[in-house]
C-alpha cells in the first residue's frame, strides 16, 4: 500500500515573490507528521497546497494515489479534512450542529443528517471531553473548547488525511499538550494521516513521528524528530542553540539554550 499523501517537487510563487520550491515528501496512513519552520518559511502555503485550495505551479500532489488536480470536490471532502488557523462563526450554532457538519460530504444534496450522524457527532464530542457543551452555542465556549469543536467536526468527516494549521495558538499549555496527544492517538488508532503545521517546535518534537523542517521555502530537513532537530539544523533554520534529548520511554524533548550570536 502506497503513501496516503505524496508531494513531488512542489513549487509555488505568489505575485509578490517566491514561496516554495523543491518540496517532496511522503506520508503514510497512521502517521503523525509535523511541518515546522520559522515565520515566512512557507508552512501555511504548503498546507494550502496539500489541501487542494491552491494548485502548485510545479510538481504534483497525490492523495491516496490520485493526483490532487483530478480529484472531485466530493471525493476530496471525503478524503481530506482541513482546519484553518482562525475560524469565526457569525451565527450561534451549537457545538453539536457544528460537529455534525463534518458528515455533510457523504450526503447527497437532498439528504439531511440522520440520527446516526448526530449520534456519531455526540460520540466524537464526548471523546474530546465536550459532551457538556454539545447544546451550547459555539461562540459561548472558550477558545480552546471552540478549537476542539472544529477538531470534532474534522473527525466526523472520517478523513484519511487530517490537515491542521496552527491548532494550538491561544491555548493554554495543558490544552496544547492534550490536543497533540489526541491527534497522535487518532493517527495511531484510526489510521488517519495527521499533518500539523506548528511554530511550536517543542510540541512537534514531542509528539510527531516525522517532521519536515522548512527554511525560506525550501526543505531544510526531513526525518524523525531527533534527526531533523539536530543542533546544526536548529542553528541554521531557527538561529538558536538547542538540542533534543531522549527520555526513558523514547520520547523526544527539545531543550533550548540561547539564541545564536550574530
Amino acid at each position: 500500500m502506497g503513501p496516503v499523501l505524496k508531494a513531488e517537487n512542489l513549487g509555488y510563487s505568489y505575485n509578490g515573490g517566491f514561496a516554495l520550491a523543491d518540496v517532496s515528501f511522503e506520508i503514510s496512513a497512521g502517521e503523525f507528521f509535523g511541518i515546522a519552520g520559522p515565520n515566512g518559511c512557507g508552512k501555511t502555503t504548503l498546507l494550502k497546497l496539500l489541501s487542494g485550495a491552491i494548485a502548485p505551479q510545479s510538481g504534483k500532489i497525490l492523495a491516496d494515489g490520485t493526483g490532487m488536480a483530478t480529484i472531485s470536490p466530493r471525493r476530496k471532502a471525503a478524503l481530506l479534512a482541513f482546519l484553518p488557523a482562525e475560524m469565526s462563526v457569525p451565527y450561534d450554532f451549537t457545538a453539536r450542529e457544528i460537529a455534525v457538519m463534518g458528515r455533510s460530504p457523504g450526503l447527497d444534496w437532498w439528504e439531511n443528517y440522520s440520527q446516526e450522524d448526530y449520534d456519531g457527532a455526540d460520540g466524537v464530542l464526548r471523546l474530546l471531553g465536550l459532551e457538556h457543551a454539545a447544546d451550547k452555542p459555539v461562540n459561548a465556549l472558550s477558545s480552546g473548547e471552540r478549537r476542539k469543536v472544529f477538531i470534532a467536526q474534522a473527525l466526523c468527516q472520517r478523513p484519511k488525511i487530517l490537515l491542521l494549521d496552527e491548532p494550538t495558538t491561544h491555548l493554554d499549555i495543558r490544552c496544547q499538550l492534550q490536543t497533540f496527544e489526541l491527534l497522535k492517538d487518532f493517527a495511531a488508532s484510526r489510521g488517519t494521516a495527521v499533518v500539523v503545521v506548528s511554530h511550536d517546535i517543542g510540541l512537534v518534537a514531542r509528539y510527531c513521528g516525522r517532521l519536515l523542517l522548512l527554511k525560506d521555502g525550501r526543505p531544510a530537513a526531513l526525518g524523525t524528530a531527533r534527526e531533523t532537530l539536530a543542533p546544526a539544523n536548529l542553528r541554521a533554520v531557527y538561529g538558536v542553540e538547542a538540542e533534543t534529548r531522549a527520555d526513558s520511554e523514547g520520547g523526544t524533548h527539545l531543550l533550548i539554550k540561547s539564541p545564536c550570536k550574530g
Partner: protein, 317 residues
C-alpha cells in the same frame, strides 16, 4: 433546541399566521362590509399581504445566510431599486398602474438588478461577499439615478412611483396572486433544499469548500431564489422595507440559526407581521390609508435600537 421543540414552535407560528390572516379579513375601513367586499376585496388583499410578508422574510433569511451577514436584507443586491425602475418604465410606456404588465416589469427589474450585482462582483470565477455588497450598492445607486431621470422626463408619474417604492398593498388580481405564488414556491423550494449547505457556508467559503460544498453554485442558486422571492413580494406589495430585515432576526432568536428551521419560522412570522401591518395601515386613519411601508419602517427603527443595545451588552460580556 431539540427537533420537537422547534417543530412545536413552528406549528405555533403557523397557527398564528392563520389566525392573523383570518382576523385581518374582518378588519378594514368599511365598518359593516357585506360578503362580496369580504371575499372579493379583503380576502385577496389579506392573501397578498401573507404572500408578500412570507416572501420577504424568506428572502431576508436567504440573504443573511448566504452573505453571512445578519444586517443583509432582501434588497441588498439592488433588487428594490431595480423593481422600482421596472415599474417606472412600465408607467412610462403607458401601462396601467397595477396591471399584470406593470408587475411583470417590476419583477423583471428585480431580477435584472440581482443579476447585474452578481455579474459585477464576479472576479476569477469567484464572487467574494465584499464584492457582492459593493456591487449591490452600485446597482442600487445606478437604478436610483435612472429613476430620478425618468421623474424629470415624465414628472406626473413620479408620485405613483414613490408610492410603489414606499410599499403599499393594493388589490391584486387573481393572475398576479397566482404568479406571485408560483415564484414564492420556487424560491422557498430552492431555499429549503439549500439549508444544509447554507449552514456550512456560514463557516466561511474556504472551510465550506473543504466540506465538499460548491460555494459558487450555492451562491448562484441562493441569489436566484432570493430574486424569485423578491419578485413575488414586489409584485403584490411594492418594495416594502424592514420586513425582510427584522423578521429573520426574530426567527433566529426564537428558533436558532439552522437555515431550514429559521426559514420555516421566518416565512410564517413574516406573513403574520405584514398582514397585521397592512390591516393597521388601512384602518388606523380610515377612510384614508397609510402606505404599509411607512408602518413597517416605524416598527423597524425601534427594533434596530433594541438590537443595537442587545449586541452592545453581548460585546461587553
Amino acid at each position: 433546541m431539540s427537533k420537537k421543540t422547534a417543530a412545536e414552535k413552528i406549528g405555533l407560528f403557523f397557527l398564528a399566521a392563520l389566525a392573523v390572516g383570518a382576523a385581518a379579513v374582518f378588519v378594514g375601513p368599511v365598518a359593516h362590509p357585506d360578503a362580496a367586499i369580504l371575499l372579493k376585496i379583503r380576502l385577496p388583499r389579506v392573501l397578498a399581504g401573507l404572500l408578500a410578508g412570507a416572501s420577504l422574510a424568506g428572502a431576508g433569511a436567504l440573504m443573511q445566510g448566504v452573505l453571512r451577514n445578519p444586517l443583509a436584507d432582501p434588497y441588498i443586491l439592488g433588487t428594490s431599486s431595480g423593481a422600482a425602475l421596472g415599474a417606472a418604465l412600465a408607467l412610462l410606456s403607458g401601462a396601467d398602474y397595477g396591471s399584470p404588465l406593470f408587475y411583470v416589469l417590476a419583477a423583471c427589474g428585480a431580477f435584472a438588478a440581482t443579476a447585474a450585482s452578481y455579474l459585477l462582483a464576479r472576479t476569477d470565477n469567484r464572487t467574494p461577499a465584499v464584492n457582492l455588497l459593493l456591487s449591490g450598492v452600485i446597482v442600487s445607486a445606478f437604478c436610483g439615478a435612472l429613476i430620478l431621470l425618468l421623474f424629470a422626463l415624465k414628472r406626473d408619474t413620479a408620485f405613483s412611483i414613490l408610492i410603489f417604492m414606499m410599499g403599499s398593498i393594493t388589490e391584486a388580481s387573481r393572475a398576479v396572486l397566482i404568479g406571485a405564488g408560483i415564484l414564492f414556491a420556487l424560491g422557498m423550494g430552492i431555499s429549503f433544499a439549500l439549508s444544509r449547505q447554507l449552514d456550512i457556508l456560514s463557516l466561511g467559503e474556504e472551510k465550506a469548500r473543504t466540506l465538499g460544498v460548491n460555494t459558487e453554485a450555492l451562491k448562484l442558486l441562493a441569489f436566484a431564489a432570493g430574486a424569485f422571492l423578491c419578485a413575488a413580494a414586489v409584485g403584490v406589495a411594492g418594495t416594502v422595507g424592514f420586513v425582510g430585515l427584522i423578521v429573520p432576526h426574530v426567527a433566529r432568536l426564537l428558533l436558532g440559526p439552522a437555515h431550514g428551521r429559521l426559514s420555516a419560522g421566518a416565512v410564517l412570522l413574516g406573513a403574520a407581521f405584514l398582514t397585521l401591518m397592512d390591516a393597521a395601515a388601512r384602518t388606523i386613519a380610515a377612510p384614508a390609508e397609510i402606505p404599509v411601508g411607512v408602518l413597517t419602517s416605524v416598527c423597524g427603527a425601534p427594533f434596530f435600537l433594541w438590537l443595537l443595545r442587545k449586541s452592545k451588552t453581548e460585546y461587553k460580556g
